[in-house]
Symmetry: C2
Amino acid sequence: MPTSYCLPKDPPPGDEVSAVGGSKLSEEHLAQLVTDIKDYQLTHGNVLKLVRFEEATRVPSIGVGVSVLPTPFPRRCFNEAWALQRCMNELYIRAGTDEQWLHTILQPLMERDGFLAALWDVHVDVRKAGVVQDVVCGIFRSDYMHQPCAVDHATLKQVEVNTFSAAGACHAEHVANMHRHLQRMRRVAKLDNEHDRDSLLSPGDNINSLVAALITAYQAYRLPSQHSYCILMVVQPYNFNVADERPIEYGLWDAGIPCYRCDWQEVLNRTTLTTDRKLLYRLPGSQTELEVTVVYYRAGYDAAEYDTQGMQVRLRLELSTAIKCPDVLTHLTTFKAVQQALTEPDVLKRFLPVGDAERVRDTFMPISTLDTSAKGLQARLNATDAAQAVHYVLKPNLEGGGNNIYGSKIPALLGSLPEEEWSKYILMRLIEPPEEIQGVLLTAEELYQGPVVSELGIFGTALWRREASGGVEMLRNESAGWTFKTKPSKVDEMSVVKGYGCFDCPKLTE
Amino acid sequence: MPTSYCLPKDPPPGDEVSAVGGSKLSEEHLAQLVTDIKDYQLTHGNVLKLVRFEEATRVPSIGVGVSVLPTPFPRRCFNEAWALQRCMNELYIRAGTDEQWLHTILQPLMERDGFLAALWDVHVDVRKAGVVQDVVCGIFRSDYMHQPCAVDHATLKQVEVNTFSAAGACHAEHVANMHRHLQRMRRVAKLDNEHDRDSLLSPGDNINSLVAALITAYQAYRLPSQHSYCILMVVQPYNFNVADERPIEYGLWDAGIPCYRCDWQEVLNRTTLTTDRKLLYRLPGSQTELEVTVVYYRAGYDAAEYDTQGMQVRLRLELSTAIKCPDVLTHLTTFKAVQQALTEPDVLKRFLPVGDAERVRDTFMPISTLDTSAKGLQARLNATDAAQAVHYVLKPNLEGGGNNIYGSKIPALLGSLPEEEWSKYILMRLIEPPEEIQGVLLTAEELYQGPVVSELGIFGTALWRREASGGVEMLRNESAGWTFKTKPSKVDEMSVVKGYGCFDCPKLTE
């Protein structure tokens, strides 16, 4: 299904090995680009930390997967996703505030999903103890692909929403800046088409936007204190992806706000909860204690983190007066069951004005539970039928990629599980991106040239107050940045970590 | 010989493992610092590229050696070195313009030093062809240590001057910024003394200063052309130290000036010299040719680079109308024989006003040739006497560290060479830095805590016109930045590359 923004299938003649957006890419140019990219990455911290090879005094790092050339993406879809983000923020904020609705969705799953149940328990314990902080901060990321359609050439379709520990902002900014640099080099070399001049977005401002959101939260913490204030970034130990976290910390320091990283497992050692539930953080190597104004979670998203000690960690943080980014209720909206529930008829209207609800709904793919309702039974039929299953992806209810089951593999997977376990999954109609988009990717394994699929992520930041009435007072609500990732079409999963997804920069097409 | 800026010898009691400038460093604090430093390095490109492990799509990198805490250095010595840099620039510029003087110094060495002879040959060939560019650019670095003295507590003593391919500016800037960041963390933790508030220099501006010098040269290239202009950075292939070069390239692009890296071995392939001796650079993967306005050498300093092809490379670049940073005559001043000759009585007055000459001379250590003059014979006695030799360092005439012979090893080395070969070396009185300065270093091999020795490098940038009369018109002359390196006292040589020298930031003491 060729569309206007796709490229002709026939490669250009001569020694050009690729042609993207009209730029011809010779072997010589390609070799130069790869050299320039490797050096750009290592000089800009666009890297992964090789924690397995860490030594006492040094640790190696290596570039993340990146595209060699920007990959085409419809400008209209980008703009739509950007414009929608404030609605998406509001949708998930309101869904996460409607405790009763959330409970209805999640309760049936808790019996078989210990992680979900554990988070809900934390919420219940906090409620029992009494809420001492009614302001919540959110850094969300809504992911999309675009799907050809007869009317508009392309429509925006949502993959998922991450409301907890959304990553990629720093890498995405570096890669956007890198592609601006490579583009200006191509211009001087007269290797860029005139009409590509405005095809790349301005250098990203992701890091500053996320920092600004955390500053707003910091400033909203107005409790008088005898201590100085800080922001606590709770992180996973041995994290290979520090380069996607550290720049936010540095940005806060540059703004005069002390920000400290604390390993999830160290929280109980390094913090105390005062009788009035203030969270104090003791600085390493010092007797100084600071009062934590904001807890920014970059950990706590894996079920394995919630052992007995991990439960205490989460509970202590949630019980405190610190503003959570985000709190456990908002965390719960990141489960796929919530994404599925939001696709049910009339649910969006519960949370959004009609007009916004319709715009949001247009981005949804059909998603179904695999329960014994009429719809669920139909979904079971589709999922277990080899011919139908190829159009679907089976997603575990848990947040985070990496465990999805695609297409033809679904029937076998379900066949291996007792039907009671099927409720741990949702069945989502696969987005069918255009087939003819060509890309050049520098993955961990190869210099890939061929058909690619891209995923756009829009960051949203928000600050809100939960009202006693159950309502929400929005204090801040912004579209805050973007990520763009591309993978070879043949690969199902978009995973930069696993080495076949690449950070990229959209080359906006009309 | 304790001096006022040294620390007491006795370590403080308790679990503190080090004390620098009054800051107490616990094991916990130290572990945190090391973690913070590792991450700061990889997120800021303060790294070495592990070219031996380079793969087609990726290349690992690793942090350079750095200090964990800033090392004390006398503020007065720093200020003096900074203030002297314009004199140092002028001295070496004028020495490199006085062709007759230079020839007198170097000619006796050429017979036994092929590299020196090769460079002189290039100069002679350029002179024969006729000079088509009378403007020269310089990026120099003058290195110092400080030596206790009874009168002033400390005096500044020059180690050497690098007038060609001076490195370290980018790493030094990152490390200075890193120490500012770590210092603000210590302040919040109340681990910093009040009197240390102003001890660190403002964040470095090395990169911008070097970029500004190259921009000035670029703007001074006023030849009309049908081509667009660029700057050519000539580099070594498989360079592990790209992170010390790339930021300068990016800075030029940010200023709107195209800058390209070209491997030394690729110069003949990628450039052409027109009949009017303009240097054209063909862009990789493109038919576009740009006119090179400035050749910035970050290669061409190793004798091994001057095989038959390498000679052609250097000659083509030097013959061109491009402004060289710097030209071959200035390159020749970087040999140790020139440094030695400048210590001879009355030589400085040849190049500098009397007042400046005296200030410069005060930084010189005694240096002697090992020839058969009365002074040379005395030097031979010192160098071959085990008891005397410990006070000297024997330096090969060639520029660049790494081949010096220290103290007790000198007699054996000289004994193994025929006396005719001795002229390849100069004998320099060792600077004797204070013995009691304590430092904490993160070297490739260890977390070192103990006595250290530091070396301050001051960058100078200049642009000048060689007048037909043999004079010099100074167009620009600046102190442009600094590096600061520290090594364990027990190690003779200051080599970050070899893993025991560390980039550092001076903690200025009164």
